[in-house]
């Protein structure tokens, strides 16, 4: 069995993740921030240590500016719906996932008095998924408030030039929101050096955590008193007040947190820190190199993207001539035990950009735990399918 669906969710998880979750469930189990007994404090410490680990990995300014939530989608919704007001203009790219595009399209349409009536410009990328920072700059208007980009495409893995755009945003006094779903834990990110004001991350991909974990890093240029929480309720703080607290992270973390998940996320991120993002990145570049090179040599197989592993993550999309992606996916699973994802990958605009809409592609999403041997086996399988249909 070969698991190549890591761009959807990573598997296996790093050693220690399941153990940390079991430890919390079996030995701690209390609600953090709601009582002061030893196990409640211990639960609080587990959550805090996960905050610290995320803060360290992304070079965030303060662990208390790491807001936890259930995934990157929720984090993007918090940033977009929380900060944008009627009349604001947002610049985004044509390589976005629906987690970015759908909240933006909803804000575009939403009438007053909601925070809608937002204007959106989608900057086109090349058929390889490459974004030119100059095109972002050219799209800026007097009412532009935010630039919102994914760090790497979930379809073809192409990296977007977030640091270059970050520099532009600082010059023009705009905020930069980055969706790091595909890069967090797999590619170095320094929110301060890259000038990222809001970093949305998910726990269950390259950070090695379980599903149901993620969050938003809120940089110091963001005035949190202007950030509308998605949800309001109990936080364990300011309990005498009936209005929501106005400080991070509590203001955006109402209700009991997914502490069992965050225990796992903390362990996952610690593993990433111990292994080193640079080491993980080098491993994935080597795998992607092998995969792209191998696919390019098979007659009838067309890989998408830049075809340069240095310019992308270890997620590679391709098509096999005369065979629908769904058929390729089914046969890879049934006949070869290779698990991958086919279709549009929740990113129709990205597929339009690279020219694979509406058919989609076959996507191999590799991780730190995949091996060169697995890549070779998959290449042999794709080679057989391609040969049959020629």
């Amino acid at each position: 069995m070969i698991y190549f669906d890591n761009a959807a969710t990573s598997w296996p998880k790093p050693p220690g993740v399941a153990e940390a979750m079991m430890h919390f469930l079996n030995e701690i189990g209390a609600n953090p921030g709601r009582a002061a007994h030893r196990r409640a404090v211990e639960a609080g410490r587990i959550v805090y240590e996960a905050r610290e680990a995320v803060c360290e990995l992304f070079h965030a300014p303060d662990p208390l500016r790491v807001v936890f939530g259930k995934n990157v989608t929720e984090a993007l919704n918090l940033a977009l719906r929380g900060l944008l007001r009627a009349g604001d203009h947002v610049v985004t790219s044509s390589m976005e996932h629906n987690s970015m595009m759908r909240p933006l399209r909803a804000l575009e349409r939403q009438p007053e008095p909601c925070s809608g009536g937002v204007e959106v410009t989608v900057v086109g990328c090349s058929p390889q998924g490459v974004l030119d920072p100059a095109d972002v700059e050219a799209a800026i208007r007097p009412n532009t408030r935010l630039v919102a980009l994914n760090h790497a495409s979930n379809v073809v893995g192409t990296l977007l030039p977030v640091a270059e755009v970050g520099a532009i945003c600082r010059q023009r006094d705009l905020l930069l929101l980055v969706d790091a779903a595909q890069t967090g834990g797999a590619y170095p990110i320094d929110v301060q050096a890259d000038r990222i004001d809001l970093l949305a991350f998910t726990g269950h991909k390259s950070l090695g955590g379980p599903m149901g974990t993620g969050g938003l890093i809120v940089g110091r240029r963001v005035d949190e008193t202007q950030l509308e929480p998605l949800v309001r309720g109990g936080t364990g703080s300011r309990s005498e007040h009936e209005v929501q607290p106005d400080f991070l992270p509590d203001m955006c973390e109402s209700g009991t947190s997914n502490v069992v998940g965050l225990a796992g996320l903390g362990a996952g991120v610690r593993w990433v820190l111990e292994r080193g993002v640079e080491t993980i990145r080098a491993h994935e570049v080597a795998l992607a190199q092998r995969l792209i090179h191998g696919l390019s040599r098979i007659d009838g197989v067309t890989p998408s993207g830049t075809l340069d592993p240095e310019l992308q993550t270890a997620t590679v999309s391709f098509n096999v001539a005369h065979l629908a992606p769904s058929e390729v996916g089914l046969r890879l699973d049934d006949e070869y035990g290779i698990m991958c994802r086919v279709g549009l990958h929740c990113a129709p605009t990205a597929h339009r950009t690279i020219g694979t809409f509406p058919g989609g592609t076959v996507r191999f999403g590799l991780s730190a735990f995949n091996t060169p041997d697995e890549v070779e086996s998959a290449l042999a399988a794709v080679g057989e399918l391609a040969q049959e249909t020629r």
């Binding site: 953090p32 921030g33 709601r34 805090y48 662990p63 208390l64 509590d250």
Partner: protein, 75 residues
Amino acid sequence: MRPGEHAVILLYSTSHAIRAEKVLQNAGIPSKMIPVPRHLSSNCGVCVRIEQVYKEAARQALEEVGVEMDGVHDI
């Protein structure tokens, strides 16, 4: 202000309290997280107890890293 007499540092949330405890630990100031004495505040469930002799050093250490305090009280 004799050794053994305590003060508590109130903070805005449990996360802030855990952060404060870590900062104090790094500064070599002994501390313990305890429930907030009822007469002081209902702000957050826990606060950080220190010895009164460390009050100024603790305040400085926390201000240095930007941990906001909701008050420091002798108990």
